[in-house]
């Protein structure tokens, strides 16, 4: 092992430790790590900007950017608040029915929007509904953020790890729908049952307060109907573009950028509103991560580990899938799943390249493990941290252990269910 490889590994592991401990902003860690990789000669400008294997994955960056713009504009229409209040009124104020409807709305939204945006939209209206009903919002908020992590795993655009997996594995939107939607649907049904078991004691029904929910006027939430129509139309076009990938041969990033451009053109909103939801720090963080992982690719480290993994796995792809699923879940429960998947994706790619079609389920095992593992602890996913912050600011603090107590149960059950799914779907017979 050369000095250069040792130095690169020190930088990489050090960056991981700093990202995991959150002592330093993650964007700083990613940029300093990337800069150090350049300094030690592990990568260079050509590799960073132009290499498909070891450079910044522009498909990921621009897909995220395009979707952030579209979602940022769409959320200003008030449609999500309308849906949530409409659901609460349909449920006639019965807490568990409201919880089920909010869980389903959150999960479906999460499949198309990123998880943090989804919970930012759903949490305030949940607080309003619970306030009207005079019940604690804590079980609702916990259930919603978990539904968001589960629902987000269903599609290519639902969770950032999926975007990385799709780009590195050459997987399409339809591949995700075909392979992830069935298991996510099963998980959601089971999750609703778990919600009943875990939270039913806190969901007292008070008929006297129902009128206070029924008095809410959801129509007032939609303030700009033309904006709603335009943004939903563009979102539908973009989703159609994703689905028709094999016909139109446009990468998801291009489809999302075209959609964002069209929406900007037809809505003519001011710049502040167009880019309100763009998380520039997240995009730069991704770029820094790709540079660090690309440096290890350049130095042959990923290839070396990949070969060792190929030898270790042999043709036992089910065993490897289960190990990847459980390992990813455990790891993602403790640290950010984005750097984890960014690192593992090239390795899994090596395994799939070597193993061919029988090894492809490894991608789904990685996606399920990384996405669902985020539910395990209060810091397992960015959305969890955001919801805990909203809850605390509104006088309903949720402690780390309160969340984690439920999170570990939900993660254990959902990950356990994925094992027979992987077996039956890809390996049985």
């Amino acid at each position: 092992m050369t000095t250069q490889i040792v130095l690169a590994l020190i930088v990489f592991v050090g960056a991981y430790v700093f990202i995991a401990t959150e002592k330093v902003p993650r964007i700083t860690v990613a940029l300093v790590g990337a800069a150090l990789m350049v300094v030690i000669g592990a990568t260079d400008d050509t590799s960073i900007f132009f290499s498909e294997d070891s450079g910044i994955d522009w498909n990921v960056i621009f897909l995220l950017l395009g979707m952030m713009i579209i979602v940022g504009i769409l959320q200003q229409s008030g449609v999500f608040e309308y849906l949530a209040i409409w659901a609460a009124k349909r449920a006639r104020g019965r807490p568990f029915v409201i919880m089920v409807m909010l869980v389903l709305i959150t999960a479906v939204l999460s499949a198309f929007l990123d998880n943090v945006t989804t919970v930012l939209l759903v949490a305030p209206v949940t607080l309003l509904i619970c306030d009207r009903l005079g019940i604690t919002p804590v079980p609702f908020l916990i259930a919603e953020v978990m539904a968001s992590n589960i629902g987000g795993s269903a599609t290519l655009i639902g969770d950032p790890p999926n975007i990385i997996i799709a780009s590195r594995g050459g997987l399409t939107f339809n591949d995700f729908v075909a392979n992830m939607v069935p298991i996510v649907a099963i998980l959601l049904v089971v999750f609703i049952g778990l919600c009943w078991l875990l939270f039913r004691k806190e969901l007292a029904y008070d008929p006297a307060r129902v009128a206070r929910v029924m008095a809410l006027n959801e129509r007032e939430a939609i303030r700009d109907i033309p904006l709603l129509i335009k943004s939903l139309s563009v979102l539908a076009l973009v989703l159609t573009g994703f689905v028709l990938h094999s016909l139109i041969h446009l990468e998801p990033a291009i489809v999302a950028l075209l959609g964002a451009g069209l929406l900007i053109l037809i809505t003519r909103l001011e710049k502040r509103k167009i880019f309100a939801d763009v998380e520039w720090e997240t995009l730069v963080f991704f770029a820094g991560l790709f540079i660090m992982v690309g440096s290890l690719v350049n130095l042959g480290v990923i290839d070396m580990v990949g070969k060792a993994a190929v030898q270790a796995v042999g043709d036992n792809f089910f065993g490897a899938s289960v190990a990847l699923l459980v390992g990813s879940a455990v790891f993602s429960g403790i640290v950010d799943n984005i750097p984890f998947v960014a690192t593992l994706a090239p390795l899994v790619n090596d395994l799939v390249q070597a193993g061919g079609a029988p090894a492809e389920p490894l991608w789904w095992a990685l996606a399920l493990g990384a996405d669902l593992g985020g539910n395990a602890t209060a810091i397992g996913a960015s959305a969890n941290v955001v919801v805990l912050g909203i809850a605390a600011r509104n006088g309903h603090p949720i402690s780390f252990w309160t969340f984690t107590k439920y999170g570990l149960i939900v993660t254990a059950v959902t990950i356990a269910l994925c094992i027979p799914y992987l077996w039956l779907r890809y390996f049985a017979g």
Binding site: L121, P124, L128, L216, R223, R393, N394
Partner: protein, 157 residues
């Protein structure tokens, strides 16, 4: 004219002051902000009246403005009632609320010194150092003093 000539007492609040009481002070005196003092009565920071108003509105409505429209009148009244338990301390602890450092001027500062410092700090109010009790100069008082001098100079010429 010096700070000591135009200084005045102002209503102040501390961490434990209920939001509703702070709101009453603002409404009574048409204030743009309030000075927050520590337990010993020393002026600490200035909070804007808009931030105090924010304490009367549920946090979830401020996070998602769309929700402001969905209440009926009865619902809105119930919403105001919930503000009773909130205090100024919540504002001070909220990272999203920008409190202003309180500008300090000396008791013998001249009008032009005070004016320059207030412009530079975009301050509505400044605490006067060296006065026993908490005393302040406010923007309207400073303006008034400047205009008085202006009018007097005009009359002389």
């Amino acid at each position: 004219m010096h700070a000591s000539d135009i200084q005045t007492a102002l209503p102040v609040v501390d961490r434990t002051t209920p939001a509703v009481e702070a709101a009453r002070l603002i409404a009574r005196d048409h204030l743009a902000g309030l000075v927050v003092v520590d337990a010993a009565g020393r002026p600490l920071v200035v909070i804007s009246s808009a931030d105090v108003l924010g304490l009367l509105v549920p946090g979830y409505v401020l996070q998602d403005m769309t929700l402001a429209g969905v209440f009926d009148d009865a619902g809105a009244e119930e919403m105001w009632a919930q503000a009773e338990s909130r205090t100024i301390g919540e504002l001070l602890d909220d990272e999203d609320v920008r409190t202003r450092e309180l500008l300090h001027v000396d008791a013998d500062s001249t009008l032009i010194e005070i004016a320059a410092l207030m412009v530079d700090a975009h301050a509505q109010v400044a605490a006067v150092r060296g006065s026993g009790e908490a005393r302040f100069v406010t923007l309207p008082t400073v303006m008034d003093a400047i205009l008085t001098g202006f009018d007097e100079a005009g009359a002389r010429s």
